[in-house]
């Protein structure tokens, strides 16, 4: 034993030594280790002094993401207030994004003790519902969260029911994003362009042609490492369109002009025209050719790329101002603006359904208290600000009733912050005080139902089970061809050959069966 211990010891010593050395060099202090239950003990006395109050409850919330900075400080203040109002304390567990879905399923299956959590259709809400992972709160909702219920409106809550019952509490956000052109307005101005004469794709093309001739070292468009194609807006500007399933641009089968007729978008004339357009731009040098191999991300480009004149994408919801702030640090005077390419008075199609939900766990011992808490977050501005933005003056500075800015010398990475779309309606969230007029215009636009038209198939959900193997084959083909075709990087002969090859492969993979199945399900849904 002695000898073998000796053999192992140096290894261990080396490990400890190395680690000791390494950790000594790291940042000092670890505020993270303070006990989160500290405020609970202090207020127990408070509760017993007023026996008429409710029993003490500890509510546990699970959210995706990373624990925000200054979590303990903010929760202490928040819990003291919650204690006072509903005799409850809140504890939040954060799970990394990429394992969130699975962890939620495991915790639900194991019957773990937590009260509520975030979920959404783009996470695994459908699976959660199917497996009974959400508590039926049909009888509780209105009684314990009256303000929230009224604020959401009974109609909205009804639209978001599942099998006639209320499970998750819907969180209203932007309905749909009109697509348009993000551009460097300072440079556009120099060449006589602005929101008034940038209304169509042709306008953008003439602006870029002029500006690139005059400006050295700039490019019209660039791709980033996440680029997989961009037909969804460019091919269909000004046409009412709905993807089935919604926002899935890789799955063939979509509706045009709000008619319940499923088409294969990749075979449409619009798509062919779009490919020709991109090819022309590529050949004319409007697109930075090297960028096809770029590794950058959308976000880093948006905040640090001052070379590119513009890009097509979603209408802004408050971030234009922040972009201007970070770009002008790199290039003084840089400005960005956004114009919709959809045309005057255009109405996007929307199902008016929520994408995100706050779900109460079926094993929660205090569903009433959770609802009371959500009601407070909805109705009580002080609680909401604390929950979303932290302590006023230290984490954020309120600007008016619905804007905020960071205290001097702080930014998003140094202060507390929770996402509004996991718990409370968008209308309740503050926007950055940097927001521009364009930001405000589109925020007002995005949340006003009058700007959207209800989809003919609102409430329909595509069930992929019957064509599962076709879908996986088709999406492999789509993934392979879209980026190459839509980047515009092929010659005339190549483009036609490639395109025909793409369509042939789609057919072989069973695309027509998918379209037929989507049509069949929609017809069936409309008959009801």
């Amino acid at each position: 034993m002695k000898k073998s211990l000796k053999a192992i010891m140096p290894v261990m010593l080396a490990a400890t030594f190395a680690l000791g050395g390494c950790s000594g060099g790291g940042a000092k202090g670890n505020d993270g280790s303070a006990s989160p239950s500290a405020p609970a003990t202090g207020s127990a006395a408070n509760a017993s002094a007023q026996p008429s109050k409710l029993d003490e409850a500890k509510l546990k919330l699970i959210l995706p993401g990373d624990k925000p900075q200054r979590y303990n400080e903010v929760m202490k203040v928040l819990n003291a207030k919650l204690e006072d109002k509903i005799q409850a304390t809140l504890d939040i567990q954060y799970i990394p994004w990429d394992s969130y879905k699975d962890q939620i399923m495991v915790k639900l299956a194991a019957g773990e003790n937590f009260d509520f959590y975030y979920n959404g259709w783009w996470q695994n809400y459908a699976q959660v519902l199917a497996k009974g992972g959400a508590k039926d709160i049909t009888d509780l909702f209105e009684q314990y969260a009256p303000d929230l219920y009224k604020g959401l409106t009974a109609e909205y809550v009804d639209t978001n029911k599942y099998m006639g019952k209320i499970y998750g509490i819907p969180v209203p956000g932007p309905l749909e994003y009109p697509q348009g052109y993000n551009f460097r307005s300072d440079i556009a101005e120099k060449y006589g362009y602005g929101p008034d004469n940038l209304k169509t794709v042709a306008d953008v093309e003439s602006f870029l042609t002029k500006a690139l001739a005059g400006e050295k070292g700039r490019s019209g468009f660039r791709y980033n490492g996440e680029y997989t194609g961009d037909y969804q807006g460019l091919a269909f500007y000004g046409t009412q369109r709905e993807f089935v399933p919604s926002n899935d641009y890789n799955s063939p089968g979509m509706l045009l002009n709000n008619e319940p007729k499923v088409i294969n978008q990749f075979e449409s004339q619009q798509y062919k025209d779009f490919l020709k357009l991109k090819q022309r731009w590529w050949n004319a040098g409007l697109i930075e050719k090297d960028s096809l191999f770029s590794k950058s991300s959308v976000t880093t480009d948006a905040n640090s790329d001052v070379k590119t004149l513009g890009s097509f994408g979603n209408a802004p919801e408050g971030w234009l101002g922040d972009r201007i702030a970070s770009l002008s640090k790199i290039e003084p005077g840089a400005k960005v603006d956004f114009v919709s390419m959809e045309g005057e008075g255009f109405k996007m199609i929307s199902s008016f359904k929520a994408g995100n939900f706050t779900v109460i766990s079926p094993d929660s011992k205090n569903p009433e208290r959770v609802l009371m808490l959500l009601n407070l977050i909805y109705a009580d501005k002080e609680i909401r600000d604390l929950y979303l933005y932290g302590i006023e003056g230290e984490d954020f500075i309120a600007v008016g009733d619905n804007q905020y800015k960071y205290p001097e010398g702080k930014d998003a990475t140094k202060v507390f912050g929770n996402q509004w779309w996991m718990v409370t309606p968008w209308a309740n969230a503050r926007i950055s005080a940097n927001a521009t007029e364009t930001d405000k215009k589109f925020i007002a636009y995005l949340s006003d139902p009058a700007n959207f038209q209800k989809s003919v198939i609102a409430g329909f959900d595509f069930n992929p089970d019957a064509v599962k193997s076709e879908i996986s084959k088709v999406s492999a083909v789509v993934g392979e061809y879209r980026k190459v075709l839509e980047s515009g990087s092929s010659s005339d002969a190549q483009l036609d050959a490639k395109y025909n090859e793409f369509i042939a492969k789609l057919k072989k993979a069973g695309v027509d069966k998918i379209i037929a199945e989507k049509q069949r399900q929609i017809d069936e849904y409309l008959k009801k």
């Binding site: 073998s4 192992i8 290894v11 490990a15 680690l19 990373d66 990394p96 640090s304 979603n314 996402q419």
Partner: protein
């Protein structure tokens, strides 16, 4: 060593050196690229990709990583788990492997089969999760990072085969001299098995050091988060933030450089273990122990 001076032998030697040198370079270069890129500024990484020698030297990526308040604590947790875990796992695995290496042991086949089954089949994530949280009540303790990996069947089989290569004659002679099984294990088997034990120790140390899965599932409090989970969380959330422009506010995210810096930081300490263990790999084991 005898000097061979024939042309053929020299050619062979040259070829050998070149061959292994090129394999060595293939292993080393990617690592150096990671090292170089971790000191590169984010904008250069974005425009020009990774390179061996940073053109704009900066420690920004490392500053970002070390700005995490919890990293000191996490290194301590990882170190404790690795050291305690490796010693304990070595001990338990050794105690299981040695009897199973003895042919005359009763129910040897059945027990081997039992161990083998755990290698091929598992109960699934949920039952395992329930066992650990509901029955063993290990959730959110330091032990949950150690106990589940105490016996790795694969390592057990490696160690068992190693024990089987020990000459039976030594053990028999010890038996004749009146030594008990424990005594034989302690005074003869363990000292002779240093190379085998060192190999297994390295396997265990690596798996404890690199693990984030246990902590992802079972650790909630910040002070028990090991360094791998802390870094994984950071990367996972950075990647997510950069892919979700629509839903998040714009935040300056130095993702590529940070990933490289993270890789360097997390392999840093464990790489120092290799030189120590290598001695025991190379050492011949029972040379000269059996005579005649």
């Amino acid at each position: 060593m005898i000097e061979h001076k024939t042309a053929g032998y020299r050619l062979f030697q040259t070829f050998n050196y070149l061959f292994f040198a090129s394999i060595g370079v293939c292993c080393l270069v990617p690592f150096l690229i990671v090292l170089g890129s971790s000191f590169e500024s984010e904008s250069v990484l974005r425009d020009q990709g990774f390179s061996l020698i940073p053109s704009q030297f900066t420690t920004f990526s490392y500053e970002t990583v070390f700005r995490l308040n919890a990293i000191t604590q996490s290194f301590l947790v990882s170190a404790a788990v690795t050291v305690i875990g490796t010693l304990a796992a070595l001990f338990v695995t050794g105690l299981l492997a040695y009897p199973l290496a003895q042919r005359e042991m009763k129910f040897r086949g059945a027990i081997l089969g039992y161990v083998l089954v755990t290698m091929l089949f598992s109960g699934g994530l949920v039952p395992w999760y329930i066992l650990i949280t509901k029955y063993l009540h290990l959730k959110d303790t330091l032990w949950v990072l150690i106990l589940p990996y105490l016996v790795n069947p694969f390592n057990m089989f490696v160690l068992k085969s190693f024990f089987e290569t020990l000459p039976r004659e030594i053990i028999e002679s010890a038996r004749i001299d009146g030594a008990s099984h424990m005594r034989i294990f302690r005074s003869i088997v363990i000292p002779l098995s240093a190379p085998g034990l060192a190999t297994i120790a390295l396997f265990y140390a690596l798996s404890y050091w690199n693990d984030w899965w246990l902590s992802l599932n079972f650790i909630e409090s910040d002070r028990l988060v090991p360094v791998q989970l802390l870094l994984k969380k950071m990367i996972s959330n950075l990647t997510f933030i950069s892919s979700q422009v629509d839903t998040s506010q714009f935040i300056q995210v130095p993702s590529n450089g940070v990933q490289m810096a993270t890789t360097i930081i997390s392999i840093g300490p464990i790489i120092l273990v290799y030189p120590y263990v290598q001695r025991y790999f190379v050492k011949g084991l029972t040379i000269g122990s059996v005579k005649g």
